[in-house]
Symmetry: C2
Subunit: 470 residues, 2 copies
């Protein structure tokens, strides 16, 4: 029996659209919600009680095949019974109501919970620090990088000078040093202040916010299909790596870390090649900086491996790998003991993560392993990609630069222009598909890990129906 | 029947210390945990299954009266049955396993959940935006403040210039403006990068981190007992307010917001007077800046009012009030519609809070209201404060500057020097009391809201026993 049938014996067989989008009850609910909350970005109000597997139901009773999945963050389908069992467990109930200050008073099951996250750590990583969101995970990783960088600068002496301890309280040198994280054009790493300083996908994410004047480099723009443009794409990698090298050489503030997504997701599903990522690894080692792999959106199976960068066998392994979204718990993996701050209480806060979410994350990891879902995703992704390749040939005006071959269901394509993309996203909802965009002109597929061939068939038929009408 | 007896019929009658501190099983557990997590700050490993009401039990079977309560963040005692019921509810189970992207696909119960948080909003506040931790709440408030400040600068025009949209992607002016948040010496507002730039309590919180060069002002240092030094303390308020005024006049970057705790908690339980806080309100209005009240540690009943600043009747109300910790959900309250960003998706992220934690927060708020726990805390606090006043007279060498009169159980005092304070915190654990420090030389009491006279008696007896031995 297929995995979705095992989990969801009552999963709908097809989408069902009963009303215009959004439906009247959704509109009423949004109006009420808008009185107490910023509801302008709401697409529709969902009925999670009725949602099941790959299908999300709204308050009007419309049933959508969900290939957006809460901005790429539902791993195993709605109301997954295995996760339901975890949510009902005594351990979870205690984690919710007796939330510990994990760094000071961990519970007797904390070690087990942390080990469950480590059970699915990326190759080469064996330690973890926990946070609360993707942006939080990245900022915690930045902190670890800056601590590490300064430790090395001091020649591994633990002592801070009196001047450092004094000046830091005024946010001044030398206690508060001028250090940087290098990120890439079109990157998205979050919207807190330091992460916003590394995010470069859209102005709206960061307009009017003070920022760190950190540098950026160019992320490769490949020609598609990749196989037909190998030489050009190699040159593009070299060109972009040369820019990174130059940024290091000309940096006004030392670069403590390079931060990169293996696939820039919000920024348009821009895939990095093995050569580019290995090149970054080599440059960071040469310059004594850390390499932070942001797997917030790419992690947990969607590319056909548990972690997307595991497609590339980067050596040595990245220094930190950040996670959140489909893992439902957040933080960073690492391996080098030097990345543990030299003094206790430097990487610390009241909660140090959320054991309730970590417990769920461990259960998600265990399910993914047990059912080898990356293999399922790889199989379904190949099936889906081929079908979309067919559509791309049939509708070349509407499917450009199809991306995600051999990357599971982590698939995207571009339209010629933003208005057309937006029209498509609106029209596909009328066919019962909940889909999301990325960059200005692209759509991205981010289904759950239990999205299978039968769901892919429905998706492809809906895409074709819409495109045939253009 | 007292509220603790209602909730906890089986609450222990007294602490019980069976082993040295920390016990052998705790030490073993810390060693194991330390292999996968930074366990250096761990005091002991807890058994949350056995913890009950005001008592925390460790893996060695030691039972401590907990007046630290997970760094001031357990509101209603361990394994509270009312919260247990919420944790077991179908709504909670769905909130855990079907975590929505709240801004895009809220659930049908989202409005009700948000309203439950607004039910206990501070006087004058009627809107809320949700986050994940105290630091996150403060940074979200900073973002709202900067958006608001620039909106006013532009004369309420929504359009961004092409130059702004271009320069912001390089973290440069004018898209990324040079704006500041003013905070106070000894303040603690979190340890992310922007919040760390406003935190001024200890160097270890921020050493080696790049920071925004934001200004600080002095927080009043009063003479105790307050009643005997009214004139001096008034002068101190005036002196400190004059410094704030000067900081505005001489600011190199415009100050968009003043951020203040009504009682600086991590920084030493430094209380602000009504005059000081009203003075800040007046100065911020005069200069067109926002006043952000950080109630992360002081909120949710512990001072004898639901929100500590409600003791002061600041007029007009603060522009934003941030919360986390005992509310178990985080965010900021506000009232001015202008603080809603002018364009959608400016205050946004994948999760926009955690409905599971918001559901719990609403339930906590409802219990606090139902049982009028601020009144209980005020009553117990008066009782406790008087007893400690007696001890202060008896042991004047060890209880200095007793603070928290008429502020519920939010009580602290200082020792002459840090080593003595540290010795006391160690010795009091041997008497079965789990207590925390603040600043370098003080101890702070942060019991739950269901800490009653019988618990206060046990606490006071233990304090006296330790002090009598010095």
């Amino acid at each position: 029996m297929s995995i979705s049938a095992q989990y969801f014996p009552n999963e709908p067989a097809a989408p069902q659209v009963k009303t215009a989008f959004p439906g009247p009850q959704s509109q009423d609910a949004v109006k009420l919600l808008g009185q107490v909350f910023d509801a302008r970005p709401v697409y529709f109000v969902a009925d999670y009680e009725k949602s099941n597997g790959n299908y999300i139901v709204d308050v009007d009773g419309n049933t959508y095949l969900d290939v957006y999945a809460q901005i790429a963050s539902i791993p195993l389908g709605y109301n997954n019974p295995a996760l339901q069992a975890v949510a009902k467990s005594d351990k979870m109930i205690r984690a919710i109501i007796d939330r510990p200050a994990l760094g000071n008073f961990p519970g007797k099951d904390s070690e087990e919970i942390i080990k469950s996250l480590l059970d699915v750590a990326p190759k080469g990583q064996d330690k973890v620090w926990s946070g609360l969101s993707g942006a939080d995970a990245n900022e915690l990783a930045f902190k670890a990088a800056f601590f590490w960088y300064q430790l090395r600068r001091r020649g591994y002496k633990a002592e801070f000078t009196a001047e450092e301890s004094k000046t830091v309280m005024d946010n001044q040198l030398p206690g508060s040093p001028d250090l940087a994280v290098l990120s890439f054009e079109r990157a998205f790493h979050g919207r807190l202040f330091a992460t916003a300083s590394t995010t470069r996908s859209k102005p709206i994410h960061k307009l009017d916010l003070p920022s760190f004047k950190w540098p950026k480099a160019e992320f490769p723009t490949y020609k598609y299909p990749l196989g037909e443009h190998a030489k050009d794409n190699e040159e593009e990698d070299k060109r972009c790596l040369a820019i990174v090298e130059e940024k290091f050489q000309k940096a006004s503030a030392p670069i403590a870390a390079v931060l990169v997504e293996p696939i820039q997701s919000e920024g348009g599903d821009n895939h990095a090649s093995q050569a580019f990522l290995q090149g970054l690894r080599d440059i960071t080692i040469k310059h004594g900086a850390l390499l932070i792999m942001d797997e917030v959106q790419t992690g947990v199976g969607a590319t056909g491996k548990f972690w997307a960068h595991e497609h590339f066998n980067i050596s040595p392994a990245p220094d930190m790998v950040t996670f959140s979204k489909k893992f439902q718990s957040a933080g960073y993996y690492f391996h080098d003991p030097e990345i543990i701050p030299n003094v206790a209480y430097r990487q610390f806060n009241t909660w140090c993560g959320d054991p309730a979410r970590m417990l769920l994350g461990g259960a998600i990891g265990a399910e993914v392993k047990k059912h080898d879902l990356p293999a399922v995703v790889a199989r379904v992704g190949d099936y889906l990609y081929k079908k979309l390749e067919g559509l791309a040939q049939k509708y070349p005006d509407f499917i450009h630069n199809l991306r995600g071959k051999d990357r599971g269901t982590f698939i995207a394509w571009s339209f010629k222009e933003a208005p057309l993309r937006n029209q498509f996203l609106s029209d596909i909802k009328k066919e019962g598909i909940n889909m999301g965009g990325c960059a200005e002109d692209s759509v991205r597929l981010r289904p759950t890990l239990v999205f299978e061939e039968k769901h892919a068939d429905i998706l492809v038929a809906a895409v074709e129906k819409v495109l045939a009408g253009y």
